[in-house]
């Protein structure tokens, strides 16, 4: 079990390192420096800037410095917001993204999984079709359309009613400001969870051991909860791993539409401003989260399926 886990970690670390390396060289080898887009800068100031950001050091030197700083948790100075370093910016934005992402995740699981089970247990009945149609809608409508439509409805059309919600902004996390973005974030995940849970639940209910459980005279509720649910959850967990990583690192779309100061928005700003260190910082953070979540998923597998535990021992 633990050696299995250790092996997964041993694969994850070089992966992260490879991503960092590729990002770093892609950024540094691109035509056009970070200060090109601005109003012409006098050469001596430019030289100053370059010196301050160590851009005149040999490339390998910059690379090693960057890696060394990363190990200390220092993502380097921001090229654009010169009084800040990237770590500070991330420290500001990440909690916001984290809160929204976490709320959306909890909502998605609480609604999506039960709804998927509900649809599966009534397979090919009207309730199944209704739920599946809802899931398809949630999957198909992209959230940058959904976001705007929500703003149009709750921010514009219902402006003078009690249902009015602010169209954007964060207001230090006021509840009213969170409703629309969190809903918008969670909707596609609810939909995917419905679809995946429904499919795997139908699959699980067809298994021979479900027939055995029913032949024992267990009430339907126990058959579902005790015998079917665990194996039905394996695909759900598989999906939730990367999904959690993406949700927690902040949706660029939703944060941009609703003007939320999370790291997704920082990333977009950074990209538009060619703020390479900021962009890299956010990219590395997300990649690390994706890798970490996949690790957690592997661990959860072994809780859900003893066969994995068994293989791990060998």
């Amino acid at each position: 079990m633990w050696s299995y886990f250790a092996r997964r970690v041993a694969i994850g670390i070089p992966t992260l390192w490879a991503i960092i390396t590729v990002c770093f060289f892609m950024m540094r080898l691109t035509p056009g420096g970070p200060f090109d887009g601005e109003a012409p800068v006098p050469p001596e100031i430019l030289a100053n800037l370059r010196a301050r950001f160590h851009l005149d050091d040999p490339l390998w030197r910059q690379y090693l410095d960057y890696l060394a700083n990363l190990l200390r948790g220092d993502f380097g100075p921001s090229f654009k917001y010169r009084d800040f370093n990237v770590t500070t910016l991330i420290a500001q934005g990440f909690p916001v993204s984290l809160q929204n992402g976490f709320s959306a995740l909890v909502i998605a699981i609480m609604i999506g999984v039960p709804l998927g089970i509900f649809a599966a247990l009534g397979q090919n009945t009207r309730r199944d079709y209704t739920v599946s149609a809802f899931a398809m809608t949630g999957i198909v409508i992209p959230n940058f359309i959904m976001g705007h439509v929500l703003i149009l409805i709750f921010g514009v059309w219902l402006k003078d009613s009690v249902f009015h919600l602010p169209a954007g902004g964060w207001a230090d996390g006021a509840l009213a400001n969170r409703v629309l973005p969190v809903f918008c974030l969670s909707l596609p995940y609810i939909a995917y969870l419905v679809r995946i849970t429904r499919g795997s639940m139908i699959e699980a209910m067809r298994a021979n051991y479900i027939r055995t459980a029913r032949a024992k005279g267990l009430p339907f509720r126990l058959v579902v909860l005790r015998h079917a649910l665990k194996s039905a959850l394996i695909p759900v967990v598989t999906f939730l791993g990367p999904a959690t990583a993406f949700l927690l690192t902040g949706s660029m779309v939703v944060e941009t539409i609703f003007q939320i100061p999370g790291i997704g928005r920082y990333f977009v700003q950074g990209a538009l401003n060619r703020d390479y260190t900021l962009v890299m910082g956010v990219t590395i953070l997300s990649a690390a989260l994706v890798i970490a979540m996949n690790l957690i998923v592997d661990l959860l597998y072994s809780l859900l399926d003893p066969r994995v535990r068994y293989e791990g021992k060998q």
């Binding site: 198909v140 940058f144 703003i151 499919g199 660029m252 779309v253 977009v268």
Partner: protein
Amino acid sequence: MNGIKFTSAPAAPGEIAGEFTGRSLWQDAWRRLLANRAAVAGMIILAGIALASVIGPFLLPWSYDSIDWEHIEALPPQFSTGHYLGTDSLGRDLLARTLFGGRISLMVGLLATTVALLIGVTVGAVAGFVGGRTDQLLMRFVDLMYSVPLTFFVIILMVVFGRNFALMFLAIGAVEWLTMARIVRGQTLTLRNKEFIEAARASGGSTANIIARHILPNVLGVVMIYVTLTIPQVILLESFLSFLGLGIQEPMTSWGMLINDGAAELEINPRTLIIPATFMTTTLFCLNFLGDGLRDALDPKDR
């Protein structure tokens, strides 16, 4: 003449048999697809939108970028001026813009998917068929790419190399091929040990030849299903890039850009958001129905 016919004859029976079973299999799938009402409706609407996007702009009284100087404000739909769906706040015809935007969005969708298809199928088929070290190397690379937040990657590419139409679908295609490669590899692995591949190998076919003539036709079904799933993703990614201002440049336009423009004048003229959004959502729905239909038609045992 006779001699030539005669020498080519030995190959013919096998080919005919291959043709025959191939066709009947596809015919079977086609019949099942036509029995699926949602998929057929999806196909028809999709064809309608595609056709309108391609030829529509030629038939409309207004072009997508011409400004109606007599109405430099948002106009409601009216027939007298030829603005069938009204104008945006600059007096540009909404229908013409939406159809033109659809042309760009669909084109990016098709081109980028083609790029993804070419890379994905090649990598997948080679990895699956050649196996061994090549397979491990390629698949480790795919695994690595999976850990990179791909949208980030495209954005970085767009920022680094500048806004460029050709580059955009190359960049999108370059990140969307991963799943395709995995699927094709899996299929190829199972095919590799089938008797007819053994036979082809035993009769001295080269690797490239076997892949092209025996593997690819057999993975076509799965690939087609996946293509219908990739196109919407690509359209979304393009829209998102345009939404961020990293995609198509003015005066050209795409659905994503129109939605972004519409969002800006949401309060005064919601039509500018609703109309392109409706077109785009409809297209996405149709592609989804078509994809589901194809999956059921080509792989009837699945659900």
